[in-house]
C-alpha cells in the first residue's frame, strides 16, 4: 500500500529513508532527545523522578519524539556478592568487548545496561495513517509518516491505533503530534536532528536499503562474537507492520525495551471488522422486522 502511495508522487518520489538505531552503541546520553526538542520546538515535557533507572522522560508522546530507555539487568550474584562469571563466560565477554565494542555485564556487581533511543517507526503499513479520518496523517515522498498540523482536528483515533504507543495528544493544543523524521530537514537534504546529534552513531540515518544491509552486517558481527539475544527488530517486511522506516538492533527481547514483540497494523483486519458490522446490521434489521411485523398489529 505504501508503495502505491509513494508512486503517486511520480517523479517527485524519493528513495525511502529511515533510522537504523543500533542500541549496542547507545550510551544513554539523551542528546537525541534534546536535539529533537530544540530543532522541532517540541514543548517542555514534565520531568520527575521515576525511579526507572536513568529514565525520567518515561515514554514517547506528543512532547517527546525521541525517548531513551534505560534497562538495568543484573546477573545472579554468588555468596560473596560477586557476579558468578564462569571463566569461559568472562573470556567471551572480553572478546565481545574487543571485537565489537560492546560492553555488557560489568565485573564485580554483574550489572549490564541496556539503552535504546526509541522513535516513531514510520511503518510500511501505518495504522495511524490508515485510521486518520481527516487525512491529516499522510505519507511523504520519502515514504515517512507525518501529521499535518493544519488539518488534524484532534479526534485522537491514531493514538490507540498505533501498536507502539507513539502518538499522543498535546495538552492545551488538542492535536496529535509525533516524530516527522525531520521532514523539513529532509527537504533540504539534511539528516534528522537526532541522528546528527548522536555521538556514537547509535542512530544512523540513510536510505533504508543501505541501512538494512548495514544492520545485517552488524547483527552477523555481534552474533559471531557471542552476543546472545542480539536481534534486528522491524528490519524487513515480514512483520505485522510490513517493516519499518525506523528499525532497531536490540540486545534483548523487544518487550524489555517497551516495544511490542509482535506489532500489527490492525487495519489489515478491517475487512473482518466490516464483515462483522454487516452481519450485526443484518441481525438488527431482522430483529426490527421480527418485532414489528410479527405478532398482533399494535
Amino acid at each position: 500500500m505504501s508503495a502505491l502511495e509513494v508512486r503517486t508522487y511520480g517523479a517527485e518520489a524519493k528513495p525511502r529513508v529511515g533510522f537504523f538505531t543500533d542500541t549496542s552503541l547507545c550510551i544513554g546520553c539523551k542528546a537525541c532527545e534534546v536535539a529533537c526538542k530544540e530543532w522541532n520546538r517540541v514543548p517542555e515535557s514534565p520531568i520527575g523522578f521515576t525511579g526507572n533507572s536513568y529514565d525520567n522522560s518515561i515514554d514517547l508522546g506528543a512532547n517527546r519524539w525521541r525517548h531513551v530507555a534505560f534497562v538495568e539487568q543484573r546477573k545472579e550474584l554468588d555468596a560473596d556478592g560477586v557476579a558468578a562469571n564462569g571463566l569461559v563466560e568472562a573470556a567471551s565477554l572480553e572478546s565481545l568487548a574487543s571485537d565489537t565494542g560492546l560492553q555488557t555485564y560489568q565485573d564485580g556487581d554483574g550489572l549490564r545496561w541496556l539503552m535504546a533511543s526509541d522513535v516513531c517507526k514510520h511503518c510500511t503499513h501505518a495504522a495511524c495513517l490508515e485510521v486518520c479520518p481527516t487525512g491529516a496523517l499522510f505519507r511523504t515522498e520519502f515514504d515517512t509518516v507525518v501529521v499535518q498540523q493544519d488539518v488534524c482536528n484532534g479526534c485522537g483515533y491514531c493514538i490507540p491505533a498505533c501498536p507502539f504507543g507513539v502518538l499522543d495528544q498535546r495538552e492545551g493544543d488538542g492535536r496529535a503530534w509525533k516524530c516527522t523524521l525531520c521532514y523539513d530537514r529532509l527537504k533540504d537534504d539534511k539528516e534528522p536532528a537526532c541522528a546528527q546529534a548522536c555521538p556514537t552513531d547509535s542512530i544512523q540515518f540513510g536510505e533504508l536499503e543501505e541501512l538494512r544491509a548495514r544492520a545485517d552486517r552488524r547483527l552477523e558481527q555481534l552474533a559471531s562474537a557471542g552476543a546472545e539475544g542480539a536481534q534486528l527488530y522491524l528490519a524487513d517486511g515480514s512483520d505485522g507492520v510490513g517493516g519499518a522506516g525506523a528499525f532497531f538492533l536490540l540486545l534483548d527481547d523487544p518487550e524489555v525495551y517497551g516495544l511490542p514483540p509482535d506489532p500489527v497494523d490492525t487495519t489489515r483486519d478491517v475487512g473482518e471488522s466490516w464483515a462483522a458490522v454487516g452481519a450485526a446490521a443484518a441481525g438488527l434489521a431482522a430483529a426490527l422486522l421480527g418485532s414489528v411485523l410479527v405478532g398482533r398489529r399494535r
Binding site: 526507572n52 479526534c155 490507540p160 524487513d236 523487544p254
Partner: protein, 367 residues
Amino acid sequence: MNEPRSYHGQPVVKEPIWKPEIPWYLFLGGLGGASAGLAWLSQLRGNDVLAKRAWTGALIGTGLSPALLISDLGRPGRFLYMLRMFKVTSPMSVGSWVLFAFGGASSAAGLDALLPSVERRGGRVLSPPGARTPAWRPAHVRPHRHPPDRRGRRTRSLLPARSLSRSRPLPRGRRLLRLAARPARPAAALAGLPLATYTGALLAQTAVPVWHEARRELPALFAAGAAASAGAFATVLTPVEHAAAARRLALLGSVAELALVPVMEHRLGELGEPYHTAEAGAYGRLARGLTISGALLLAARAGRSRAAAVAGGAMVLAGAACERWSVFKAGFQSARDPKYTVGPQRRRVAGGLTRGGSRRVVAVEAD
C-alpha cells in the same frame, strides 16, 4: 504462565484519549439508529402512535450524537474536516459519513412525524377562512389521534388523506419537510443500521487488546444494545396498548446482549480478564443486573401496566448504557497494563502463528 516481561511495567500502547462523550455516543448512536428502523416499520404497519415515539428516539440520537462527538475533539472548530475524505480503513471516517446521512434523513423524518399538520388529522378544516389561527397547528388537537377518514378507515399513512384545497395550505417550509420526509423515512431506517453497529468496528480497529481481539463480537453486541435501548425507549413513552412491538424489540435486544457478553469474553480467553476487574467489571455487573431485571419486568407486566413499562424500559436503557461503559473501560484497562499487550503477542510468536517483529539471523539475500 509467567508474567510477560515489560519495560518498568509501563504500557506499550497508549490508552485512548476519548472522554466520557464517547461511551455516551456509543449508547445514543445505537438508540437513535435502531429507533429510526422501529419508527419506519411501525409507521408502515399503521402504528403511528408508536412510530412517533420511536422517531423521538431517533431525533434524540441525531441531535446529541454530533454534539458529543464534536465536544470530544481536540479541535472542535475543525469538526467538518471529518468529511474531507472517505476511507474504508477508518471506521471513524465511514461513521462520520453514516452519521451525516442519518442526521439529515432522521431529522426530516422525525420532525415531520412530530410536527402536527392538518392533513394528519384527515384534512378537516379547523379554522374558518380568514381566521388568524394557523390551521396546521391548533393547540387543542392531540396530534397522535387518527380519526377515521370519510370512508370510515383509520388513517394509516402520513400522506394527505384529502386535497389541500379543503384546508388552509401548510406553510411552504412545512410542505417541503413533508415532501422530504417521504424518502427520508426509509433512508433513516437504513442508515440507522450501520450507525448502530459501526461503533464496534470503530473500537476494534485499534491496538487496544480487548477491543481488537473482540472485533467479530463487538458490532453484534452493540447491535443488541441498540435494539434493546430503542425498544426500551419507545416502551417507556408509548401507551401499553400500542407498545407491543417495542416491548418485543427490547426483549430481543436484551436477550441478545446478555447472550453475547459471555460469548465475547469466552472468545477473548485470558484477555477477557479486564471485563471482570475494576470499573469495567463493575459496569458489566451493573449492566447485567439492570438488563435482566428490566427485561423480566417488561416481559411479565409491561403489557398491562404502564408503570411497569416505564420502570422496565428505564432499567433496560440503563443496562445498555452500562454495557457500553463496561466495554469502554475494559479497553482502557487492557491498554494500561503491558501484560495484555505483550502476553498474547509473545504467545503468538511462541506458538509459531507469526514470526513477530524480531529476527536473530541474518536475512537471506533473496529477501
